[in-house]
């Protein structure tokens, strides 16, 4: 069940939303005013989704939490009270946040929450994939260097050097990149 945290300066205003969320099967873990200690609240309540007013001063607090805890991201859904639906949507299309604009009609909420989560997950997957590609690329360079060291130090040919790195990685249950890094470090120590 999705854990939802609701942040609004005017708690009365968002009370109907809270009720709707509960009825729709979400776990509302907190309903706070934006002067509360949001840093602590996020750590304690571990929400998956945070719903916040676009005009809340606490948006900066949440942005920091998201930028810093990149390993543990969460979706932020925002709502605004005045028009400009399209403009806000356009601004956030590329990002991880979704905006809910206008009064928070219950019927509209579920599709928006679902879409926000889907987009958030897609974005995360894309980001992870990019990071993995970058890591692999960096690893290949490390492996090439380690191979070179083995070839030079032990007079191995390229293929044998590669095989011995792989064997070592399997024996120790580590990734090739890790083993390669250790070989380079050892060589640097001895140099």
């Amino acid at each position: 069940m999705l854990r939802v945290m609701l942040v609004d300066e005017n708690q009365e205003r968002s009370a109907p939303l809270q009720q709707y969320l509960v009825e729709a099967g979400y776990n509302v873990v907190g309903h706070l005013s934006d002067t509360a200690d949001l840093n602590k609240a996020v750590v304690q309540m571990q929400p998956d989704v945070i719903i916040i007013d676009t005009e809340s001063p606490s948006r900066d607090t949440l942005e920091h939490i998201c930028v810093v805890s990149r390993d543990d991201p969460r979706a932020i859904v925002m709502f605004a009270h005045d028009g400009e639906t399209e403009m806000i949507r356009a601004a956030t299309r590329a990002g991880v946040s979704a905006y809910v604009v206008g009064a928070l009609e219950s019927a509209r909420l579920k599709p928006i929450m679902d879409a926000a989560m889907v987009r958030f997950e897609e974005y995360q997957a894309l980001k992870n994939e990019l990071e993995m590609t970058a890591t692999k690329l960096a690893e290949r360079k490390t492996i090439d260097r380690a191979k070179g060291i083995l070839m030079k130090q032990r007079g191995l040919d390229e293929d044998t050097a590669y095989q011995s790195l792989r064997k070592l990685a399997m024996q120790r249950g580590l990734r090739m990149g890790e083993i390669a890094k250790q070989v380079i470090q050892a060589a640097e120590l001895l140099a």
């Binding site: 602590k40 900066d60 942005e63 920091h64 930028v67 400009e84 590329a94």
Partner: protein, 425 residues
Amino acid sequence: MKFIDEKPEALPTNPERRQFLQGAAAAAGAAAVVGMGSLGIQQAAWAAGSDAPELTEVKIGFIPLTDCAPIAVASAMGFDKKYGIKITPSKEASWAGVRDKLINGELHAAHVLYGMMYGAQLGIGGPQKDMNVLMTLNHNGQAITLANQLSEKGVKDGPTLKRMLDNENRDYTFAQTFPTGTHAMWLYYWLGAHGINPMKDVKTIVVPPPQMVANMRVGNMDGFCVGEPWNARAISDKIGFTVTTTQDIWTDHPEKVLGTTAAFTAKYPNTTRAMMMAVLEASRYIDATANRAAVAKLISSKSYVNAPEDVILGRFLGHYDNGIGKKWEDPNYMKFFNDGKTPFPYLSDGMWFMTQHKRWGLLKTDPDYLAVAKKVNRIDLYKEAAGAMGISVPKDDMRSSKLVDGVVWDGKDPKAYAASFKVKV
């Protein structure tokens, strides 16, 4: 010079207009030489059709801080009308909100944290968007406040803070105002200069400026870095003391800028220039000591900073009191003009923020520092506006400064500089 026969809808790249501007600048210079005011010439310039602002009403966002003064003054003193536009200042609740509204066009321009402009340009924590820094709004005038409880434990400066952190087991929390912003960078830099790693040795959080003092009072954090008047407020409320001003971290450091999107400057070049001139005139007005009391009164109102006038005025005039017994007249108080040196958008200033974003892991890889800074900081537009007003423009697009740790930053090798710090992510 041509005044009358230009079409009102002439494009910004129109060579005639360019020629005209250069002519006006030269004439202004000549007028200054012979001791005439250049006012008449400026007004003549705005009568010329080709320079008419494409958009006459400009909405400029600001966050309630002392350094929003140029926006407030440009509007309240009517400098906007002098250049053919109307500035509507718009009080904003968060920096993230300012960024989103700049990007979606709800705000035309804004009083922005320098580093945040580069954060948006490089897509840190949000969508990437081409941004433009038009001019620097101020140097100096921020500070780091520590809670009074730390003073009771003998902390009075960086080294004593480091000693206390080494000897104590609990987590210490420091607040700033935005992940890529200036206060984050001053705080991290200062901690780093004293061997404290802001990413490992302490916890950092973001708290909205007007809530800083209240949060410290209830013990949510042990220190914070923020713009005035909130450090002065912590002292007057007997909550904390100033452990360092930011001008002591970097004398004449860049702080807020007048920022907009590249799309806006491309679409509305004349409005952009008129807006820059109105704000430049306000900056020059604020830097005259005689005007500062009136400006403090203006910005203390509820529609701007919403803080007592006397809390704003002291440090605004350079009267400093650190709250634990030291009083001094600071020559490096908040500057807005400084004979044209403050507003100039030095490329080295813009690059510095990227080097720190890299240092603290907000950027994974080195950007092309110089190319990005050249794209964002519109020195070309600044020179046009300043030139037309007879404001002196620094010769070099870079400047050299020695920061609190003794390291010199001159913009020459940003990649090596970014990698040179011992304390980093």
